[in-house]
């Protein structure tokens, strides 16, 4: 792993309580050597952005299975920008329909990982910006 000490915030925006994936990814990335912070469920975009800035993270990984991604993911990107933290990269995962992905990317979400994604694919993205 080249960039040890890359800091990642795994966050659960909105009202969705499905945290199995978020917790798995948080722990798996920690095992890969990253510094990982996990917000817990039911966070507002405002709270997530505040934590991201306070914790000086490199990535925010948003996990959502409730279908509110089109509203909440871009909101996190926008709030980061408004707070002068546009260098923090936003990625997402969960139950996200294929046809929503181009729109999310257009709005500044760098990658979206769906069901069946492996830890390896996510690490590949963090390290080299490729994968999805």
């Amino acid at each position: 792993m080249s960039s040890k000490k890359t800091r990642i915030l795994i966050a659960k925006p909105g009202l969705d309580g499905h945290d199995r994936g978020a917790k798995f990814i948080a722990r798996a990335l920690r095992d890969e050597g990253y510094e990982v912070i996990y917000t817990g469920i039911r966070q507002t975009p405002e709270a997530i952005v505040q934590t991201a800035i306070q914790e000086d993270v490199d990535f925010v990984g948003l996990s959502l299975l409730s279908g509110a991604h089109n509203e909440l993911f871009p909101r996190v990107v926008d709030l980061l920008k408004e707070n002068g933290a546009e260098d923090i990269k936003v990625i997402g995962g969960g139950i996200i329909p294929e046809e929503d992905i181009p729109l999310l990317k257009e709005k500044g979400v760098l990658a979206v990982f769906g069901p069946g994604t492996s830890t390896e694919q996510i690490v590949e993205f963090i390290e080299h910006g490729s994968g999805r």
């Binding site: 009202l15 969705d16 917790k23 409730s66 279908g67 909440l72 769906g114 069901p115």
Partner: protein
Amino acid sequence: MPLPEELKKKKKDWEETTLREVISRYPERKTEFVTGSDKTVDPLYLPESFSAQEYLEKQGFPGCYPFTRGVQPTMYRGRLWTMRQYAGFGTAEESNQRYRFLLEQGQTGLSVAFDLPTQIGYDSDDPRAEGEVGKVGVAIDTLRDMEILFDGIPLDRISTSMTINAPAAIFLAMYIVVAETKGIRKDKLRGTIQNDILKEYIARGTYIFPPAPSMRLITDVFAYCTREVPQWNTISISGYHIREAGSDASQEVAFTLANGIEYVRAAVKAGLPVDDFAGRLSFFFNAHNDLLEEVAKFRAARRIWARIMKERFNATDPKSLMLRFHTQTGGSTLTAQQPDNNIVRVAIQALAAVLGGTQSLHTNSREEALALPAEESVRLALRTQQVLAYESGITSTVDPLAGSYYVEALTDRIELEVWQYIDRIEALGGMVPSILKGYVQKQIQEAAFRTQKDIEKGERVVVGINRFQMEEKRPENLLRVDPAIRQVQTDKLSQVKRSRNSSRVQHSLSALRQGAKQDDVNLLPLILEAVREYATLGEICRVLRDEFGEHKETIVL
């Protein structure tokens, strides 16, 4: 139960000669075989020595203690399980259409899915509802929406299950009032509210209030229904979501029954005689792919619960000892890849539920790893149940797998593991402290982490994920909920607010506030009054939030 000596010796001989010889030439496919819950499976199970006395203690007769073989003497020979598809999305109007469709297709009970703002007590116009209105279920803000939801549906002839927890009392109240307006008395109503807050803290996440006031609301429902709505299932103590969060089969049963112990204890402490309310407790479990382990799980759960109720709570009414349960096939076993494979998984899981003696069943639809299901897929899932019910033959006798050496060994093993967890939780002071300390969440997460790692390493095969993958087109015609629904719902809400009598609304809400301040007041009658005046869900929950405070998650990683 021990093997008879002679058999033990013969088995050893067989292992050392016949088996060893074959394995030396043709090794088995794996060095260790495990169940879906990662427990070792022997190559062969044998009959155990079994006296009539031991049989009666462990299995008995269906409809009799300890209910291992089923809660009814005739099981499906008498009546099939209730086919109950969990459904709801968008507005009350759209969901009402889906319910009518399902009833026309031969479904025998309703199951209402609410959207997340509704489950967490926010109106559709609340800023926290952004993006979530109508998404994972139907949006309900006031009694008006409930009237629309059940329009044209005969509430005296069907039973309705509502997946609602923190605000369960409010939805029971709304259902009662809707029935009243149709001229149906509340003692005729049949159905279930999930009303199981403890598993929300553990695994599902739609909690509002802290444990103590939440337990009070639940106990208030028990007390009220005992007197007023005697055919209602006052709670559905749910292992489903614990399993979805990644637990194994034994943990699913253990944590569910430990939650059950906590509810019974709270109600007894509040002064309710155990046999007055215990017969209306119901349960809800998951069905995963390991067919025989799942069947054993259901059998073990019945046996343990009967013993808990009899020995710990001195219940005597047989109804208090029976674990009646709903089953849903396992959502987390579905794959987004090659979604048609899910049809097969669901069939196996549904088979497990029926062989395990379920009282009602939801079968998942093939595209649920991607979206809410379209009508055509829901129909196929319902047809799966109908094929099991009418064509498979498994409904013709009671508990057909009893006496399978393997199934009985699995049943005993699960029972043993469940008691160990229950003892551990009791040692921590019961379920509430075990949750607040993060013990339960940690156990589930460890199991979930192992499972996912095993999948990534290829040690656990998931067809289409880590074996037998293929290039495929992306699925079409997925159901989408129109984001404009929030506006529709918000407009409806303002209309209701304009047409109601606001001083009466305020009056009912302050009465509720006063009641909430006193522990010995049953809140149900006060909630009923507020609902009748078209107080919104958000307004009622606001009052209770003010008085009770809000729960904060114990984050465990």
